[in-house]
């Protein structure tokens, strides 16, 4: 509140700048995250589905890739859930014995 009186002109402007900055950080992190997922998935699914590269992707390879993509994302979610719940568990126990 008192800041507002000290700096009546720049404050509303600062709020918008601050929010834009936060938004940019969030977007860039989300993009990096998606890119990492795509790269890892591409590697795994290529390895799993395209065992003998031919002139083009066969329809069975394409079916495999579609399934692999769904499974990879499912695996990511399972791992994420497991890790986050483990972190929460360790944190609740770590009031006596620190983790990490």
């Amino acid at each position: 509140m008192s800041d507002f009186f000290k700096n009546p002109l720049s404050n509303p402007d600062n709020t918008a700048r601050k929010q834009a900055l936060m938004e940019q950080v969030r977007n860039e992190l989300a993009q990096a995250n998606a890119q990492q997922l795509m790269n890892n998935m591409n590697e795994r699914c290529f390895k799993a589905c395209v065992t003998k590269p031919g002139d083009s992707l066969s329809s069975s390879e394409q079916t495999c890739l579609t399934r692999c993509m769904d499974r990879y994302m499912e695996a990511f979610n399972i791992v994420s859930r497991t890790y986050v719940s483990r972190l929460a568990k360790e944190r609740s126990e770590s009031d006596s014995a620190p983790f990490s």
Partner: protein, 86 residues
């Protein structure tokens, strides 16, 4: 160009620091999840991907993450014990 942009006031700077620290923690967790996913996928998913995970594949993924973390805690304890006995 950078000189034309006014500095944030102190309260905003503090708020941004807290925000960045939170995002950084989140990003670290995400990066671990990426690592675990590739590592555990390679260990657990050995057959051609089908329309759903088998029960054993799914439980393997869960155990893989938990055992990896157990391993990390175990090794830290071993090192500490060894240091203590020296």
């Amino acid at each position: 160009m950078a000189e034309n942009i006014p500095k944030f006031d102190e309260a905003t700077q503090k708020e941004l620091a807290v925000f960045l620290e939170k995002e950084q923690t989140q990003a670290k967790i995400h990066s671990s999840v990426h690592n675990f996913t590739t590592m555990c996928w390679d260990k657990c998913i050995t057959s051609t991907p089908s329309t759903r995970f088998s029960r054993s594949e799914e439980s393997c993924l869960v155990s893989c993450v938990d055992r990896f973390l157990d391993t990390s805690i175990f090794l830290v304890k071993q090192i500490q014990e060894r240091r203590g006995s020296q």
